[in-house]
Subunit: 228 residues, 2 copies
Amino acid sequence: MSPTGRKDGEGERYRAILETAARLICERGYEGTSMQEVAAACRMTKAGLYHHIQSKEQLLAAIMSFGMDMFEQQVLVQVRDMPDALERLRECMRRNILLVTRDLSKEVTIILHEHATLHGEARDYIDGRKKRYVRFLETSFAEAVREGRIRAVDPTVAAFSFLGQVLWIYKWYRPDGRLTDEQIADGMVDLFFGGLAVAERQSAPGPRGQEPEAAPLTPVVPLFAGKP
Amino acid sequence: MSPTGRKDGEGERYRAILETAARLICERGYEGTSMQEVAAACRMTKAGLYHHIQSKEQLLAAIMSFGMDMFEQQVLVQVRDMPDALERLRECMRRNILLVTRDLSKEVTIILHEHATLHGEARDYIDGRKKRYVRFLETSFAEAVREGRIRAVDPTVAAFSFLGQVLWIYKWYRPDGRLTDEQIADGMVDLFFGGLAVAERQSAPGPRGQEPEAAPLTPVVPLFAGKP
DNA sequence: GTAGGCCAACCTACCGGTCGGTCGGTTACC
DNA sequence: GGTAACCGACCGACCGGTAGGTTGGCCTAC
């Protein structure tokens, strides 16, 4: 049994229902989507739909759980074993941004938007998985501070700033906009980790720490290709 | 008539209705709040409530418009005439964060959460006011770059990063949490404008060979056993 | 000073429609 | 002949919204 309340393995049809429902809920919101509409979009009657699911809220929980699976597989497990905390965080931000902007991820958008819709156990379960991510970020920031790779900042503030930049994107990003998702990812990683301060033109290696490749902090990123 | 569909200037009672409705909608979402509940919370019947408003959607539009008024008065007009672009942006971020965290601002929270709920003219009207703010930020960033106060970054990326950090707060901030809103405001302003790069007088990275024992991901217990 | 007019502010009762969800089948394939 | 997949018909509750009436306070007119 998976945490979504379904047997493992089977159910290509169930997957299809989840995806269809996710599309609708992503477009109209959870409360704004009726089971009638979900069933119709699945080319079924409502009774037929209820053969596969237990309730509307369990359907939402299953969608969110699937979204968390996607997120963990495409972001977390890809970066969590990187030894360098700073590089880990940069890659994490990049991957997370691209996950949000990719149009496949209606499930992720739903997780982000319907953050207070679930109740009870299902809510606790999803919140637990989210919190695990926050703790991962906090730990990584603390580690990067400890290693002297970044300034001493509060890891919680850093983690939620990171998340805010990355996750707010779902509210405004449009694939046909001026900026591509790659440009946004590059730009935000550069801004967040490179900072805004005017570069003191390298020279300064500091008193003792002369790690040659220890400072990839202010590089690159062409952008600035836009309006005033 | 303002685009929110109400004569100007009238009604202390109307204000009270807006505030009560805002409280409910903030707690349960727009679609999740019935007019019955709004009326009851105003100690009225539904018909009595409809004496004051035209429709549910117009009620939402009025709440959002009031929220935009609050925002513009407490943030925008307070900072827009500051001559120094960088200082203007710092003060703007600070004020915006405190606006979001202050419990008065259910209306602001609703604007943030229900970003795709309105339709038609009312939607255009609110979106227009939001876009003015984005343009104000972009312009200020561009100005700060031009004056050499900050590095050359894309003003759009900077503006949306700024907004993401600031506005995402509504999703996680709780007044009884570890961090006060003042600490969050100070921390985020420092992080965003101070950057993460190690200050040059500080010593550089310590011993490098150490394995970071990176961020153990504690397992989450799956739950809600399912149906068939 | 009070009779009468007026109107905002409410009410009860109700509208057609939809909500999430269920029941008792029927089909089609193993 | 068992069972997973599905359907038509239906449930009670509730949805946003309205029709039509009652109330009570204020403004005038005499």
